[in-house]
């Protein structure tokens, strides 16, 4: 029997890797992929805890999170395409008009 805490630590590690990816990478699409990684880690937590308490609700949350993630990816990628279509580079640090 795998203790639920193992799953949660795993999810935590995946989440952290995702966070570090978001903060370190400069390619916006890769940043987006790391966000998806974070979402997955959260889903994993949901499912693990749902199993731990014997409830189906955990999986229900995951279904909807999945749907929302899909929608979000489509819109987000649309935005990235719109922003970077006119630029030469795809360095997210180029978008810095809000600099003081």
């Amino acid at each position: 029997m795998v203790p639920t805490s193992y799953y949660m630590v795993l999810a935590g590690i995946l989440f952290t890797i995702g966070v570090i990816g978001v903060l370190v990478k400069r390619n916006p699409i890769v940043i987006f992929m790391c966000i998806e990684l974070m979402l997955n880690a959260a889903n994993l937590t949901f499912v693990a805890l749902g199993k731990h308490f014997g409830q189906v609700n955990g999986q229900m949350y995951v279904i909807f999170a999945l749907a929302v993630a899909a929608a979000e990816v489509s819109v987000g990628l649309g935005i990235i395409v719109a922003i970077f279509r006119s630029k030469e580079t795809i360095n997210i640090d180029e978008v810095n008009l809000m600099k003081f």
């Binding site: 966070v19 978001v22 903060l23 370190v24 400069r26 997210i92 640090d93 978008v95 810095n96 008009l97 809000m98 600099k99 003081f100």
Partner: protein, 730 residues
């Protein structure tokens, strides 16, 4: 029966309103002046009649001869004027012998001076404005003497100060007059700070500002029982503080050392102003206030000593300076300072009644002297310098006779009124309850000698010596705010603007030669003639409107003394309003000489002073100068006296020069610019600097912002863990 005391106060106010609105009511200038000249003295004399009526019907029949009545008929005298927190002040009038006495002096002698002023100011274009201020002054002075609490007294106190300023600088186009008005008001205000502090101290001790109230709840009643508002015994130090603060106010108003410097300069105003305000009424307000507070003063030996010493010092200094003055009004001004010193001396030795007696007699003969000198000036077509007078006995004999009576009265010639009042003061000074009686008596006698001397000197220089001018070729020095051309233009109905500015530049060339410490001639520049074409004029007696009050005042100067003095009528009359010295820790001492000896000594001193002046100036009949010019210029004593003991020099240096430098370099450049502006600017600068530092967070990079979010999450996590550890004691 309802009280009619409010009439006394409201009639002059009515006169003020009428005179102020005279410009609207009467379009023709001549009609306007005539109407004002009837209304202004009329309301004051009606006030006098009302005072007598109230005295007979309300004061004398009342228990303790005291009644508190409303200022506004119909309201109760307890109707509050101010009611803030625990502080209450109401609108009442206090009718008692002291206030009635002063009301009679103010309205009676004031009324006479009003009549005089109708003649004196007849040719002045701005006569309605003059009487507006004059009536306002009477109103304020009556508020001062009739007020039932300190606050109303203070309203009147400030009001008379304001009117004094307005009237001194009546001919405002001459800057010196304006400066004199400023000086009077500002020095007064310094005293008023002390007065206000005294009032605050009184309120904190007694919880009320009313002099007398029901069930013994008034300040004076509590002081008589030696208790404060909580029923605790009075702290002597507190009483001394109160008295000293009040006396500071009196010092300013009544021209005692060190706040006396404004009174000689105040002679820049028209002569009726000098007579009414600076001789008879306003300057005696300090004495009146002290007498009103006598229940407090007799309990504080230190305050009494202070009053006494300041009084005798002022008397002496004033007399010495009066010896060397050349302007006829200045002599009288310093004489007033000196006589006021006598009044305070009387208060200082605990004999407030005699101080008030001297107020009464002084009002009569000083008003007579001032009005008489005004008549002389009027006859001399505006000349005030005695060195250019002389030989007027033959030309204006009646004025001379009246001035003679006034001079002998003030000198203390036996049986005239000044003799009785001054003698009482001197003998009580010798019986001073706090010692030094001999010194006080001696200095008082020396001052009396000097008084007699310089007054007779005035008489000789003006009347008896040979004429130092040519009658028939008098050059007119008239005062007016308008030049001759402007007068003609105004008469023709054309309004000329900027007359004041034009005026100023003209006169400044002449005025610039005079400094503030002027000792040769007061602010009296040669002005243009007005439309009467008086150059080449001759001396003539003054009109009846001016002479009539002089006769009345002369009669009063003669009889008031022996009618009210030796018969003790005055003492008995004023008794309910004055506290007895026995209320306090001091006791009256033994006079040095018996009463009869005192009379003889005073008479000798007076006659000696008069006689000495007679001898000196009869010898110098031709020139009218006792000492030659080079002697006067070199003699250090005379120069010291002419410089008014250096008061003006010191004050000008300390307050104006040094004070100005302090204000400029320290208060402005350092405190205001560097401290206050600097701190405000520094605050703004700090905000700017902080913003400059914090703006670096806005790098514009999304990743940095994301890092910030993550940082916040980590901090939250740490916080949560810490909280849980603490809660669960892990």
């Amino acid at each position: 029966m309802p009280s009619y005391a409010w009439l006394i106060v409201w009639l002059p106010l009515l006169g003020f309103v009428h005179n102020a609105a005279a410009g609207f009511l009467y379009k023709n200038l001549a009609t306007r002046k005539k109407a004002v000249s009837y209304v202004a003295p009329g309301v004051v004399l009606l006030g006098f009649a009302a005072t007598l009526f109230v005295l007979m019907t309300e004061v004398l029949p009342a228990p303790d001869h005291r009644a508190i009545v409303p200022l506004i008929p119909g309201l109760s005298p307890e109707t509050p004027w101010l009611s803030v927190g625990g502080f209450k002040a109401n609108f009442g009038l206090l009718l008692d012998p002291l206030s009635m006495l002063m009301a009679m002096v103010v309205t009676g002698i004031g009324g006479l001076i009003h009549i005089y002023a109708t003649g004196y100011m007849a040719e002045d274009r701005e006569q309605p404005r003059f009487f507006t201020y004059f009536n306002l002054f009477i109103f304020m002075m009556l508020l001062l003497v009739l007020g039932s609490n300190f606050l109303m007294l203070f309203v009147g106190w400030e009001g008379v100060g304001t009117c004094s300023y307005l009237l001194i600088s009546f001919w405002y186009t001459d800057t010196n007059n304006a400066k004199a008005g400023n000086k009077a008001f500002i020095v007064n205000r310094i005293g008023d700070v002390g007065f206000a502090l005294g009032m605050m101290a009184i309120w904190s001790t007694f919880g009320t500002l009313s002099f007398f109230a029901d069930k013994g709840a008034g300040v004076m009643q509590m002081a008589a029982r030696h208790v404060d508002v909580l029923g605790q015994p009075l702290v002597p130090a507190m009483v001394t503080v109160i008295c000293v603060c009040l006396f500071v106010g009196a010092m300013g108003k009544s021209a005692q050392i060190p706040l006396w410097v404004w009174l000689p300069d105040a002679m820049a105003g028209p002569t009726p102003v000098s007579a009414l305000i600076h001789a008879a009424t306003m300057v005696t307000a300090g004495v009146v206030m002290l007498t009103r507070c006598s229940w407090l003063f007799v309990q504080s030996p230190h305050a009494l000593q202070l009053v006494g010493w300041v009084g005798i010092a002022t008397a002496f200094v004033g007399a010495t300076i009066g010896l060397v003055q050349n302007d006829i009004k200045r002599v009288l001004a310093f004489s007033t300072v000196s006589q006021l010193g006598y009044m305070f001396l009387a208060c200082g030795v605990g004999q407030f009644t005699f101080g008030m007696f001297h107020v009464l007699t002084h009002a009569c003969f000083k008003a007579l002297l001032f009005l008489g000198s005004g008549a002389v000036i009027h006859s001399m077509m505006g000349e005030q310098d005695m060195r250019k007078m002389g030989g007027l006995k033959k030309l204006i004999p009646r004025t001379c006779a009246l001035m003679f009576i006034g001079t002998y009265a003030i000198a203390g010639f036996p049986l005239l009124s000044g003799f009785f009042s001054k003698d009482e003061i001197l003998s009580s000074a010798s019986a001073s309850p706090w010692g030094n009686g001999v010194l006080l008596y001696a200095v008082g006698l020396i001052t009396a000698f000097m008084t007699a001397f310089y007054m007779n000197r005035l008489m000789h220089k003006t009347f008896y010596t040979d004429a130092r001018f040519v009658d028939g070729e008098l050059h007119a020095h008239t005062h007016s705010n308008f030049t001759a051309e402007e007068e003609q233009a105004l008469d023709a109905g054309v309004h000329s603007a900027d007359h004041a500015a034009h005026r100023d530049t003209d006169d400044h060339a002449l005025v610039a030669a005079h400094s503030d410490t002027d000792h040769t001639n007061d602010a009296h520049t040669a002005m243009d003639d007005h439309g009467h074409g008086h150059s080449g004029g001759s001396v003539h007696e003054s009109p009846p409107s001016m002479m009539f009050p002089l006769y009345v005042l002369a009669a009063l100067s003669v009889v008031v003394g022996f009618v009210l003095g030796p018969t003790k009528i005055f003492e008995k009359f004023l008794e309910p309003s004055v506290a007895n010295l026995s209320l306090g820790p001091l006791a009256k001492g033994e006079p040095i000489v018996t009463e009869q000896m005192g009379w003889i000594i005073s008479s000798i001193v007076a006659i000696a002073g008069l006689g000495f002046a007679y001898l000196v100036y009869t010898r110098a009949k031709a020139t009218g100068e006792a000492l030659s010019e080079p002697v006067k210029a070199k003699n250090p004593i005379i120069r010291f006296l002419v410089a008014k003991w250096g008061f003006d020099i010191v004050y000008n240096y300390v307050f104006i020069t040094l004070g100005g430098k302090f204000a400029d370099k320290v208060l402005w450049k350092y405190v205001d610019v560097r401290l206050i502006d600097g701190s405000v600017n520094a605050l703004a600068g700090l905000v700017g600097a902080m913003s400059n530092a914090f703006k670096r967070v806005q790098t514009g990079y999304v990743r940095n912002y994301a890092l910030g979010i993550f940082l916040g999450v980590v901090v939250l996590l740490i916080g949560l863990l810490a909280q849980w550890t603490v809660l669960n004691g892990r």
